[in-house]
């Protein structure tokens, strides 16, 4: 299978690879997928005092499309509010990267990662009162 140009670009020049301190109360972490299924995504967001995502990082074990999907969402997330972040749908990711049907699950995983990261952040904030 030949890869789409945008997938290749994100794969070869992934944006925002790395980790944030997952103990930091300003950081939300989402780890989704399973090694046995061939893809695991870790997405982290840092949320500033205004409730805006100021930084996003990812690490992904998975195919090129999975890596590209997570790289793409880290770009999209920066500067967004949490509600805006939650409005990102997998179809937008799939469309942007022109993912073939067999790779749609990569975009679903990326959407799940956003949801999990936001909910982790909110849980932490709630615990702090």
């Amino acid at each position: 299978m030949a890869y789409n140009e945008k997938v290749l670009d994100h794969y070869e020049n992934p944006r925002n690879v790395g980790s944030l301190d997952k103990e930091d109360p300003q950081v939300g972490t989402g780890m989704v997928g399973a090694p046995a299924c061939g893809d695991v995504m870790k997405l982290q967001i840092r949320v500033d005092d205004q409730g805006v995502i100021s930084d996003a990082k990812f690490k992904t074990f998975g195919c090129g499309s999975a890596i590209a999907s997570s790289s793409l969402v880290t770009e999209w997330l920066k500067g967004k509010s949490l509600d805006e972040a939650l409005s990102i749908k997998n179809q937008q990711i799939a469309d942007e990267l022109a993912l073939p049907p067999v790779k749609i699950h990569c975009s679903v995983l990326a959407e799940d990662a956003i949801k999990t990261a936001v909910s982790d952040y909110r849980k932490k904030q709630k615990a702090l009162g």
Binding site: V17, P35, G38, V40, K59, G62, G64
Partner: protein
């Protein structure tokens, strides 16, 4: 050195230029139908076909009259298994084959199963080899055929053919061997290995695609019900006009394989070991899949822990290899061969098959080692599993949500 580098010799081999040279006159100039008995066009084609038959037979230590030409190993497997099943079904309806066989064998068995035949899919040991005791215990008075490959296409392991053949002979069960990957790379002899049926392929041994053969033993005679009818070619076992140029090429490929097997195996094995040592000395968390000793010289199947196979292939795009990862196949299931060895799904997703052969060079191997090491290091930096492993977390102990 030319890029990309071909390192997928178990998928197919480039044709040897010496093979092409032999074939060329048989397309335009000498185009006769070998079945034409009434003129010189047919006679010369027939002579060429019979020479090819001798060359193919010699590779197996067989009689040329025992060679049936086909379109390739898939057809040969179908003819052998279906042909035996249908001819001997009154004797018994049980067939045994290992779970790690090629799909050409497994799917044919499944097809017969749907028709009422009973199939035992034999598990293999952790190293990929058939357990002879288990095989012996699986043979019943209903068993008519055992089908076991010479060399595995994914992990390259070589089955103990002589022992299997002896066991089958003793139990009066026919032994079919898919030798598509083994032929020309290991010494095969139908008598020493007590083989009754052997499938061969042209394009795995530097010959043309679209041609193969089935060896069918004459003494004691093995009978088959044909699956292709029309004209009674190949002693009624496989009708259809013989493709003279393909057969000439196939014959030449067999001759070259036989002449050069020893030196070629030495060359290929040295390169394979260079590759293996290069990778294992520079990277940690690697697993070799399949037995190292009983293995094709040109096969290396390695799992690169925490690095998914498809992303790895993207990272080494100048090197043509294949992966046991689900992402590379239509099925979304990781390699059934690796799973049968007890390899975890996770490890199967990280496997890469390197196939080396006649035209692989040391320079290419050096380049591949360098490229793979760089890619693995880069992808591990990107892998959350690697990060966890480095932090001392056992990835297997984590509760992952299945999806």
């Amino acid at each position: 050195m030319k890029l990309p580098i071909y390192m997928d010799y178990q998928a197919t081999t480039p044709m040897d230029p010496r093979v092409l040279e032999e074939m060329l006159p048989w397309f335009v100039e000498k185009f006769g139908n070998p079945a034409s008995r009434s003129h010189v066009f047919g006679w010369e084609a027939d002579q060429a076909v019979e020479k090819a038959r001798e060359q193919v037979a010699a590779l197996l230590g067989a009689d040329p009259r025992e060679i049936v030409f086909t379109s390739g190993a898939t057809e040969s497997d179908n003819l052998a298994i279906q042909g035996v099943a249908r001819f001997y079904q009154d004797k018994g309806q049980h067939i045994i084959t290992p779970v790690t066989e090629h799909k050409a064998v497994l799917d044919t068995c499944r097809y017969l199963e749907a028709e009422g035949f009973s199939i035992t899919y034999l598990p293999v040991q952790k190293n990929g080899l058939v357990d002879l005791d288990l095989l012996a215990a699986s043979i019943t008075d209903q068993t008519i055929l055992v089908s076991i490959m010479a060399a595995n296409n994914e992990i390259g392991v070589l089955q103990p053919l002589a022992d299997i053949g002896q066991l089958c002979r003793q139990k009066k069960v026919l032994f079919h061997c898919d030798a598509a990957q083994g032929a020309g790379k290991m010494a095969l002899n139908v008598d020493a290995m007590s083989m009754d049926l052997v499938s061969l392929s042209g394009h795995k041994i530097y010959g043309p695609k679209g041609v193969g053969a089935l060896y069918v033993r004459r003494r004691p005679r093995v009978r088959l019900k044909p699956i292709i009818h029309g004209g009674g070619h190949e002693r009624g076992m496989r009708s259809g006009t013989l493709p003279t140029p393909l057969l000439v090429g196939f014959g030449k490929a067999c001759e070259l394989a036989m002449q050069e097997m020893e030196t070629e195996n030495r060359h290929v094995l040295a390169l394979r070991e260079r590759l293996r040592e290069g990778l294992f000395s520079q990277l940690t968390h690697l697993e070799l899949n399949g037995d190292l000793q009983h293995r094709l010289a040109g096969n290396l199947n390695v799992s690169f822990g925490f690095v998914e196979g498809e992303s790895m292939m993207m990272a080494i795009k100048d090197v043509a290899v294949s992966s046991g990862s689900a992402c590379t196949s239509a099925s979304l299931e990781p390699s059934y061969v690796l799973r049968a060895l007890g390899v975890s799904e996770e490890q199967a997703h990280t496997s890469i098959r390197f196939g080396l052969g006649r035209f692989t060079t040391e320079e290419e191997v050096n380049f591949v080692i360098k490229t793979v090491v760089q890619a693995v290091n880069r992808l591990r930096e990107m892998s959350p599993l690697w990060e966890m492993s480095q932090a001392g977390i056992d990835v297997n102990s984590v509760q992952w949500d299945a999806h």
